[in-house]
């Protein structure tokens, strides 16, 4: 806080002496927080450690033997989970704060090594036979249980990513658009199912109060996946694109109402933007039908005019939602 500002406010008699002293003491006791710096170091450490161990094992398979490697990974994994189980606060369906900062990363390391462990078992011994689904399903189950049992949003995101991989979609933020071939019909349907499932989970956790703070993460992944799948549907299907538009409108309307109720700007914004993209695709598809250079002009004018319209809409929505949460 800027002491000079408060001294001026005191001179203008907007605050009294006690308040000025309070500000001064608070400023004197102000500590320099290293929270994010240390957290970054810790996270980098965990990443380097798990990645480095992976390569180390891969390179030395011939000399140390598979059983030893599996044992090392298993010991690390068990050690991490053991630490977490000993340190954790009792389970509850509401938010449980983590006992200390190290806990979060020990859990993360435990989960990462567990995934490696299962992958290794499958790769080397085909422990789960040819049922490849099972080999991804076991980490999925363990990740989900850990996320709920230890209350960890990062592990929950890993579980969601794993669920999507199990169903055949890459959903990590940077891969969502680049690594998926949304031209494939099957992938579009999978996307709709996955998105719907995640949105369902989001509302279930908010409604039944089951780890309510997980709802945001579920809804975030779910909304993006289902919207992108719908937009892909509108582009791919030449006959039934109107049906996809209608479906997306229904989802969008529902999400928009929920977002408004929750006062979440973030979901209002993405719903509006995805909706805008969908409407624009519809307009472009109609304009292509005219098959005329005039259509091009109309299209450009449409984008300029409609974008102005959406800006006005967003500004008025911003006024309507007071005290927004996000």
């Amino acid at each position: 806080m800027n002491i000079k500002v408060f001294e001026k406010l005191r001179a203008a008699e907007l605050i009294n002496d006690a308040e000025l002293t309070a500000v001064k003491t608070a400023e004197d006791q102000q500590l320099f927080s290293l929270h994010w710096e240390i957290k970054t170091l810790l996270y980098l450490g965990v990443l380097l450690l798990s990645g480095g161990l992976g390569i180390l094992i891969y390179k030395n398979i011939d000399t140390i033997g598979h059983q030893v490697i599996l044992m090392i990974i298993g010991v690390i994994c068990a050690g991490c989970f053991n630490y977490c189980i000993r340190k954790k606060a009792p389970f509850s369906w509401s938010k449980v704060d983590s006992p200390n900062a190290f806990f979060d990363y020990a859990l993360l390391l435990g989960c990462l090594t567990f995934v490696t462990f299962v992958g290794y078992l499958q790769f080397q011994y085909t422990a789960f036979g040819t049922a490849y689904g099972l080999a991804t399903f076991i980490p999925l189950a363990v990740l989900t249980v850990s996320a709920y049992y230890f209350d960890h949003l990062g592990v929950l995101s890993m579980a969601i990513t794993n669920l999507a991989a199990w169903m055949g979609i890459a959903v990590t933020p940077f891969q969502l658009l680049s690594a998926n071939d949304f031209g494939s019909v099957q992938l579009i349907y999978t996307g709709v199912i996955l998105g719907g499932l995640l949105l369902g989970l989001a509302f279930l956790s908010a409604w039944k109060n089951l780890k309510k703070h997980f709802a945001f993460t579920y809804q975030n992944f779910g909304a993006h996946i289902i919207f992108i799948a719908c937009i892909a549907g509108m582009c791919v299907f030449d006959t039934s694109w109107l049906a996809w538009l209608a479906f997306m409108a229904a989802i969008g309307f529902f999400l928009f109402k929920e977002a408004f109720k929750e006062r979440s700007f973030y979901f209002v914004l993405i719903t509006v933007l995805y909706g805008y993209i969908a409407v624009s695709i519809a307009v472009v598809r109609l304009l292509i039908l005219t098959n005329d250079i005039g259509g091009l002009y109309l299209g450009l004018l449409y984008f300029i005019g409609s974008a102005i319209g959406v800006i006005v809409l967003l500004i008025s929505l911003n006024k309507k939602i007071k005290h927004a949460s996000v």
């Binding site: 806080m1 500002v5 408060f6 001026k8 406010l9 308040e19 309070a22 500000v23 608070a26 500590l31 320099f32 927080s33 290293l34 929270h35 240390i38 957290k39 170091l41 810790l42 980098l44 450490g45 990443l47 380097l48 450690l49 990645g51 480095g52 390569i55 200390n100 190290f102 990363y105 990462l112 490849y132 689904g133 991804t136 990062g154 592990v155 991989a165 199990w166 890459a170 959903v171 933020p173 658009l177 071939d181 949304f182 099957q186 945001f216 937009i231 892909a232 973030y266 914004l269 993209i277 624009s280 304009l287 300029i304 974008a307 102005i308 959406v310 800006i311 500004i315 911003n318 927004a324």
Partner: protein
Amino acid sequence: MLAYNSQTLDNLEIKEEAEKALRKNCITQPAYQAIEAAHPVNFYTPNPVIKIGLFILTVVIISFSLGLLSLMAMDMLRNEDGFAGLCIFAGLVCYGILEMFIREKKLFRAGVDDALLWGAVMLICSSMVIVDRISASTICFVVGFVTVLATLRFADMLMAGVAYLAFLGFIFTVAIKLGPVAKTIVPFLIMFISITAYVAAKKISAYHSSRHYKHCLTVISVLSLLTLYLAGNYFVVRELSNTMFDLQLQDGESIPGAIFFWIYTAVIPVVYLYLGIRKKDAVLLRTGMILLAAIVFTIRYYHSVLPLETAMVLGGLVLAVGAWALIRYLKEPKHGFTYAEPEDPSLADKLRLESLIIAQTYAPGAQPAGNDVQFGGGTGGGGGASGGY
């Protein structure tokens, strides 16, 4: 000089300070309301999330308007010069609209104004690149000139950063043309300018009259610390002089004065860290942390001290154990440092950015067959927007 009302900017700062004090229970709610009433702020600044939406939409409008303009002026655009002229025209129009919005609608960091400002500057500056016969130093000079004006008028952080870099680029492009002696001293010249810029930014920010440019000066001090390091980093100096001055170094051959640059590479980040901790300066501390990684990369690029995996495991162990030790050490605040979270809730926190980063760095294992990994599915975000034509 500044496009915004200075009094209102002051009021905004007072209001923000009062909010902080209210959050820490230093002042009472009625006092806060009195302060708020006595210092009216009539800027329009939407919620940060909405701001991003407004920014994207404004960019959409600017690009499609440019498209429409080029379509209508098809005859004019027989060569690059015509298009460059159109870009300058569009840039000036953006600027005009920006000035009007700020005066009439009191936009302040609202997304729309940021997009208009950046759009205007980009359009005007890119016209020079389109024409394709203007020398690099002229481009740097004009970009620097335009962005300095933009910084002074709108106190925009990005503009300040670009202005600083363009200035350095100008010095660099002029210096390397001056002959062999100038080439040798270029690193030292850049170092000198960087350190002068850092000291100047610190000095200027102490003046009362520069208070509205606080954030611009922070950007400049971060950038000047980075350029101060990069100017003497062994990798940068060796590779840049190899390609630009045609030294034709073979692998393993080294540049003149290598010892100096090696010491510089390794020492400067540590100095930053030390000063950052001594002075409790977040800028120095964080820059130092980032540059520690630069030391590792530079050394590993030329000398394979350890096999990659051993280095990763060791580094990971050191980082994890070090962080764990720090957390234990700072359990009770010591020497004015604490591990406790800063009280101001940040946007990154609200959007659960941390969990997204974890998901991003974690690549799930076996993917079932049938999911061809292909680039350029390209039907997603906005694909249909212009794809029709």
